[in-house]
């Protein structure tokens, strides 16, 4: 088989070899508990401090004590939202958006059942929110605003810095799920009004199972996990020292490659997108193409279904992911596609290509060559497709029962 091509970096990334190398001693000689007085612990403690500093640098945080290590992005998200509700018990409203990751949305759905009021900002066709609508919702009843920095499916960037500013003016704390943004776009938290930010190691070439909650100094906070005094009691549980060290190295590397990400990786993504759209008709890019992550291209191929595309890509060693939730057992297309009003015939055929600094131009060209015949092959099977274009008025020509 041909060497595999990985273009699913928004799902997860490969650990950088330098990250793995830095971690290894922490499974062997550096096994100590950072809290211990003896030398076994002391060395680990130093390594954690160094890692914390590296994360602080990447995020542009004012203090290293604002970095709280957690087990994943989801834990950081849950901690932020539950903390805001607990710390401001008289405020029972949360503002978020309809396109958040399930780490936010599922929790909000659950809290709604417990009596919390959840206001979900809608998005337009390009996945953008309306700042006027947002402004009109800001009130003293709001315990927290939580809006993602970058969307995992389309790469669309929200103006979170501006949104945080607006929330701050009304005295409302602001959280952002920046799991997809950290390491891909420059972030300087100290010059913003963002109070909390979630980040996850495995999206930036660190291992899975390590996350960060940035907690601005003087933000009212309640821990999710109570117990020992780790992370100053803000997140109890013995530190995952190997992964924290790995994340530190990954953050340093991300900072070194920030330029690459926004020039080279972006150019590769643009080449891929242009190459595919030039050869496949009835295809378009989803989301806000102006304000977008440099590595992500979400492309809708009309009149075919995504899983088929993925299976055929996979046969050629190409890994991407689909905007359809077909694999998850839920039958409808993703909530993000639905929120943008993408027609079903296109939403089900959406493929997300998400690149990283490890992708090459040669790989991009191989994908550009692979995609058009796959789409043509599946369209040949599609009841909506005629020889080289959709059948005339496709929605009328094929109207299945119980649609």
């Amino acid at each position: 088989m041909m060497t595999p091509i990985y273009m699913d970096n928004n799902a997860t990334t490969a650990c950088d070899p330098a990250v793995v190398e830095a971690m290894l001693p922490f499974f062997t000689e550096q096994f100590g508990n950072a809290s211990s007085i003896h030398s076994f612990g002391e060395q680990v403690g130093k390594a954690l401090k160094e890692a914390r500093g590296r994360v602080q640098n990447l995020l542009g945080a004012a203090h290293d004590s604002e970095i709280v290590f957690t087990s994943c992005g989801t834990e950081s998200d849950s901690t932020a939202i539950l903390s805001a509700l607990k710390a401001n018990p008289e405020r029972r409203t949360i503002i978020t958006t309809v396109v958040e990751h399930p780490a936010i949305l599922t929790l909000c759905d659950y809290l709604e059942k417990e009596g919390v009021v959840v206001q979900r900002l809608r998005v337009d066709k390009r996945g953008r929110i309306d700042l006027d609508e947002y402004k009109s919702l800001l009130s003293e009843r709001v315990a927290l605003v939580s809006a993602m920095w970058a969307n995992n499916e389309t790469g669309t960037l929200f103006p979170v810095e501006e949104m945080a500013e607006m929330a701050h003016e009304k005295g409302i704390p602001f959280h952002t799920d920046a799991v997809q943004a950290v390491g891909k776009v420059p972030i300087d938290l100290k010059s913003t009004r963002i109070d909390m930010l979630s980040c996850s190691g495995h999206k930036l070439h660190a291992p899975k199972g390590i996350g960060v909650l940035y907690l601005r100094r003087n933000t009212r906070f309640r821990p999710l996990l109570r117990g020992g005094h780790q992370e100053r009691g803000r997140r109890a549980g013995t530190e995952n020292s190997a992964s924290i060290v790995g994340l530190g190295v990954a953050c340093e590397l991300a900072q070194q490659h920030m330029e690459t990400e926004n020039t080279t990786v972006k150019a590769l993504r643009d080449r891929l997108q242009r190459g595919i759209l030039a050869k496949v008709n009835n295809a378009f890019v989803n989301g806000d193409t102006v304000h977008r992550l440099p590595n992500t291209a979400s492309i809708a191929f009309e009149y075919v279904e995504g899983e088929g595309i993925l299976l055929l890509l996979n046969k050629q060693g190409i890994a991407a992911s689909s905007g359809s939730a077909c694999t998850s057992g839920s039958l409808e297309p993703s909530h993000v596609m639905r929120a943008m009003g993408i027609p079903y015939t296109a939403a089900h055929g959406t493929i997300r290509f998400s690149l990283s600094r490890y992708n090459t131009e040669e790989e991009v060209d191989r994908v550009i060559a692979a995609v058009p015949p796959i789409i043509a092959q599946l369209r040949k099977l599609s009841p909506y497709w005629s020889v080289d274009g959709p059948v005339e008025s496709p929605e009328r020509a094929f109207k299945p029962a119980y649609a």
Binding site: L311, S324, C326, S330, L331, H348, K380, L381, P400
Partner: protein, 293 residues
């Protein structure tokens, strides 16, 4: 990634009989574009012999939808219409060496397309009896519509009731919240799950109910079992009445119900239904108990 059999993969990568069939005289369009699966089945039927001389498909859908469509066309070619109509969705799944539970609806869609195409050929109107909800219990492949209907039909109150009647929730526990949501949606509230509603829901020898004659009583038992059977058949099981001995009702469970870990739950569910239908306390026993006892 996908738990597809080799046969599914093979039919997806090399679909048989795909594309339009110009001289088709029976066409069935079914599926739901919202759910991302839709299929057009085209038949060329010999009007003399009613033999399906050719069958083609066009499918918008996932890998297993395409594979199921391909399999269906292979299975029905050179059959008579009446023979073809015997093909069930389970037959399609079996032909493909099985489908993941989340994908069983693809085989259902195949069977429905067949019925729609035959109806179209015969000039009859086709009514789909299709109702399928989101898959709730993945362990036993039970969807939301099935759970909701069972709750409504049997006035179920608790999680345990739902598990007894449908098996849903009897496995990994992941769907308990979802089932509770359905219970709340139907009942307007959630009843506590301890002390299974004894005496509250199961009418115990209600004096209001007129006493049934022996014949009426057995007819009623049969009717009740008849109503339960489709549910069991969905799980490839079945139940038949063997003997009525006063308060003891002996039944034979077959297929997937038989001897499986859920047998007692299944018997419990049947018993609960019979108690409600007859308004008297009785005991449902497996036929084996009759032989030894």
């Amino acid at each position: 990634m996908w738990d597809y059999s080799d046969k599914v993969r093979e039919h997806f990568f090399n679909p048989r009989n795909s594309g339009p069939l110009t001289d088709a005289n029976g066409i069935g369009d079914v599926g739901s574009i919202k759910c991302g699966d839709a299929l057009r089945l085209m038949l060329k039927v010999n009007p003399e012999s009613e033999i399906i001389e050719d069958a083609h498909f066009q499918t918008f859908g996932c890998g297993s939808a395409i594979a199921s469509s391909s399999a269906l066309t292979e299975m029905i070619k050179s059959k008579t219409l009446d023979q073809a109509l015997q093909v069930s969705n389970q037959d399609i799944a079996d032909y493909l060496d099985g489908l993941p539970p989340e994908k069983m609806h693809c085989s259902v869609m195949g069977r429905e397309a067949l019925h729609a195409a035959v109806a179209n050929y015969r000039g009859e109107a086709w009514q789909d009896d299709h109702e399928e909800g989101d898959l709730v219990c993945k362990c036993f492949a039970i969807d939301a519509v099935m759970i909701e209907e069972t709750i409504r039909g049997n006035h179920l109150k608790t999680m345990a009731d739902v598990t007894n009647y449908t098996k849903a929730g009897g496995g990994c526990s992941a769907c308990h919240e979802k089932i509770e949501d359905i219970l709340i949606a139907v009942n307007g509230r959630l009843y506590s799950s301890d002390a299974p509603q004894k005496g509250k829901t199961a009418p115990v020898e209600s004096p209001v109910k007129p006493k049934l004659t022996n014949y009426q009583r057995i007819r009623k038992i049969e009717e009740t079992l008849e109503a339960i059977r489709p549910m069991l058949q969905r799980d490839h099981g079945d139940v038949t009445l063997v003997e009525v001995d006063g308060k003891k009702i002996y039944v034979a469970l077959s297929g997937a119900c038989q001897g499986c870990q859920m047998e007692s739950a299944t018997l419990g569910g049947i018993q609960q239904k019979l108690i409600e239908a007859l308004g008297e306390l009785l005991q449902v026993l497996p036929v084996g108990a009759l032989a030894t006892g």
